[in-house]
């Protein structure tokens, strides 16, 4: 499913896109795109407002740390990992698999 244009997600700036009720966070790490669930698994914080420190995403509410590549929890209070969506880039557009 087409999600967004690749140039709408600058390097290092997480951005949220919605498909219906599904909220997807897109992160551009030096040209490589990662698509994750856009809400923290702890209390539902909007991760698009979080800080990106290298390949670690920090939740803006309570500071949980997630690995961008696989959604794994590196630091709580979150306990569950973020869902990761597979994606592909075709002709400047990012597509995700649901």
């Amino acid at each position: 499913m087409k999600l967004c244009k690749t140039d709408s997600v600058p390097v290092g700036e997480p951005k949220q896109f919605n498909i219906g009720e599904l909220e997807v966070l897109v992160i551009n790490l030096k040209g490589e795109f990662f698509c994750l669930a856009a809400r923290c698994t702890h209390a539902g914080a909007p991760l698009a407002e979080g800080k990106l420190m290298g390949d670690v995403l920090v939740c803006p509410w309570h500071g949980s740390n997630f690995r961008v590549m696989n959604g794994a929890v590196l630091k709580g209070p979150a306990e569950k990992p973020l869902k990761v969506y597979q994606n592909t880039v075709k002709e400047d557009y990012l597509f995700i698999e649901l």
Partner: protein, 652 residues
């Protein structure tokens, strides 16, 4: 002092200033019964014999957790070597103010730290007849008067509750209040006082070097003692941590269910759009009143506040809520309007949140002693216009049916009756700035829009006779606008015609109503030349910039070197004009630049006030002002709409 954080749940509303002091505490309605009456609740810290209130000697940063109504504030004092990390909230449905305070001991030594909270209630806004007492069974302090009870309690992560307390007399030469008693680090434990009273409580922490500990503090609000105690038990059972999580999550879910695609927006604009909606919601009473501002500092100058429901401000906020998809909030407002509108079909100047008439400075007679109608007619017109926009978007005919007989028909009849037969213009009323009486271009534009709206409602309700009458009146009024209020020599609309026939040529940002309300298109020559004249004449020529309200505006004027102070709403009207006339992405950037101007001049927490100092950019007059936030939401929505149209026309 402008507010930095506002919190609320439609019944309890709390505002904090830039020293993390609670400055406004409303209950049980948003805007009605400010139990502080301009006073403050403070936080103090004592350690190793030194005491300091969080304030001037502290480095304070105040913000919200993103996309929610929970604060995230930091306060650091290098002398005490203490840092406080504070989250404040009003629970989303329980009437409880919650505060979580993480204390950082920045030293390498073990030490005792005591944290103090002062409570200076003026219940019902009056300093007499209050009681403050210690309740030993639940170890809490209770302030009460008649049907208002406030129960203060707390816990530490070391298992302690309130460590010491004091209640006492205040505001007399020898008795300043118990907050003064805090400053030696010890509270005397006086268990009860009545009259003009306040209280203070402290919490004790035994802190390890370079460690953190947490204090949870809350104020339960109720109409009687049993309810207050029950709420206190509920907080203890659920825990403040969980209640804060619930509140975070609720407001995040609330603001993110807006049905507007924001993905093309720059991050700052998206953030301000959502913050605006949240701040606006804190000012909506569950009974439907939308107050202009909870900031009560104006009390010190005018002995009155902005905590009233102006139908104009409310209508524009409702319009913004509707655009963003929060029709249930705007519906509350229209129900409130239907309740308060006069039998003659107009709105008075302003109202209290309970629907009673608000204070006013509009006289019932003019300078010559002749009777005059003390209203601002654009308020009635804008409510009707906003209601049509609401219906156009949501098609909730059954709801409209309930308010149609009064809010639509009576208002429309009034607007028709309140016309000058000779000119076809509305009869005089006060202007939107609430300063002068006359026939104002802005008011006429709003009335035109309302007559058109009422005609469209008449069509929906199959009343073709009324539809024709209203349509004809709107057409005639638009023609009369051009004939009497457009000056061909100046090439623009004038501000007003006064009772003596004199014409006011002042450049006034409110002329923007000619296209925002729709009698003219933004691209129509008469609108374009008027807006260009405003852009050239009212842009504040200082490094701060922004649009002044009108030429030589004296309201809170900082300098005679500028036309007036920059106002957010006026700058946003200009943004809306640039957006409305844009035909390409390049042209659209002019509007976006002004949206960025707004975000640039807002504090970190995102609260938009009324106006700014033209040299320092500091807020002037009240902050927040809900009208400013509403105009921001409207401007962003219009930007998104235009962006979409230009994109699709480019693609095809």
């Amino acid at each position: 002092m402008p507010r930095q954080i506002v919190l609320g749940n439609g019944k309890v509303a709390v505002a904090l200033d830039n020293r993390m002091r609670i400055r406004d505490f409303f209950y049980p309605r948003v805007g009605l019964e400010n139990h502080l009456s301009g006073h403050e609740f403070k936080i103090g810290v004592w350690t190793k014999g030194k005491f300091m209130w969080v304030g001037d000697n502290w480095s304070v940063v105040m913000n919200y957790l993103p996309e929610t109504l929970v604060s995230r504030c930091m306060a650091k004092n290098s002398e005490l070597e203490i840092e406080l990390e504070v989250n404040d909230a009003v629970h989303n449905f329980l009437d409880i103010y919650l505060r979580k305070l993480v204390v950082h001991n920045l030293t390498n030594s073990k030490r005792e730290v005591r944290v103090f909270f002062s409570q200076d209630f003026h219940i019902y806004g009056v300093d007499a007849g209050d009681t403050a007492m210690y309740e030993p069974i639940i170890n809490s302090i209770i302030h009460y008067k008649r049907k208002r009870y406030f129960l203060i309690n707390g816990l530490t992560d070391q298992g302690g509750g309130i460590y010491q307390f004091a209640v006492g007399y205040k505001e007399s030469p020898s008795l300043e209040g118990t907050w003064r008693d805090s400053e030696d680090g010890i509270l005397q434990g006086n268990p009860i006082a009545q009259g003009a009273v306040d209280s203070a409580v402290s919490f004790k922490l035994e802190m390890q070097p370079q460690s953190t500990n947490t204090i949870y503090y809350w104020i339960a609000c109720a109409n009687n003692l049993e309810e207050a105690k029950a709420l206190n038990s509920e907080v203890k059972r659920i825990g403040v941590e969980q209640l804060l999580l619930e509140t975070e999550n609720y407001w995040s879910a609330w603001v993110n269910r807006q049905d507007v695609d924001l993905s093309i927006l720059p991050r700052e604009i998206t953030r301000m759009f959502k913050t605006s909606l949240l701040i606006m919601r804190t000012h909506v009473d569950n009974g439907g009143a939308i107050i202009a501002s909870c900031d009560s500092d104006a009390l010190q100058f005018n002995r009155d506040t902005y905590a009233y429901a102006w139908p104009r401000d409310g209508a524009l906020a409702a319009l913004a809520f509707d655009m963003a998809g929060f029709q249930e909030v705007s519906r509350l407002f229209f129900e409130y309007c239907n309740q308060v509108i006069s039998d003659r079909g107009f709105f008075h100047h302003k109202y209290s949140p309970d629907g009673s008439l608000g204070s006013s400075w509009h006289a019932l007679v003019d300078a010559k002693g002749e009777p005059q109608l003390p209203i601002q007619e654009d308020e009635t017109a804008l409510a009707l216009y906003a209601l049509w926009k609401h219906y156009q978007r949501h098609r909730d005919l059954e709801f409209i049916g309930k308010v149609y007989p009064k809010l639509v028909l009576k208002a429309a009849d009034f607007l028709l009756a309140h016309r000058d037969e000779k000119t076809g213009l509305p009869k005089p009323s006060f202007d939107l700035w609430e300063e002068r009486i006359g026939v104002f271009t802005s008011t006429v534009a709003a009335v035109c829009a309302a007559l058109t709206a009422a005609a469209r409602f008449a069509k929906v309700f199959y009343d073709s006779k009324r539809q024709d009458l209203l349509t004809e009146a709107a057409i005639q009024m638009k023609e009369a606008m051009l004939k009497h209020l457009y000056d061909k020599k100046l090439g623009r609309f004038i501000k007003a015609i006064y009772l003596d026939g004199s014409r006011d040529l002042t450049l006034d940002s409110s002329l923007s109503y000619i296209f925002t309300c729709g009698p003219f298109e933004a691209g129509d020559e008469v609108a374009a030349t008027t807006m260009m004249a405003l852009a050239n004449g009212l842009w504040v020529k200082t490094p701060i910039g922004g649009m002044a309200r009108y030429e030589n505006d004296e309201y809170y004027r900082v300098s005679k070197e500028t036309q007036g102070n920059p106002w957010f709403i006026c700058t946003l009207w200009m943004a809306r004009w640039y957006i409305a006339r844009a035909n390409s992405m390049e042209e659209l950037t002019k509007g976006l630049d002004l949206l960025f101007w707004v975000t640039k001049h807002s504090p970190p927490s995102g609260l938009l006030g009324e106006q700014l100092d033209p040299y320092t950019g500091e807020p002037v007059s009240v902050s927040p002002l809900i009208w400013s936030h509403a105009e921001f939401v409207i401007a962003v929505y219009e930007y998104l709409d235009k962006h979409r149209r230009i994109s699709s026309s480019t693609e095809t």
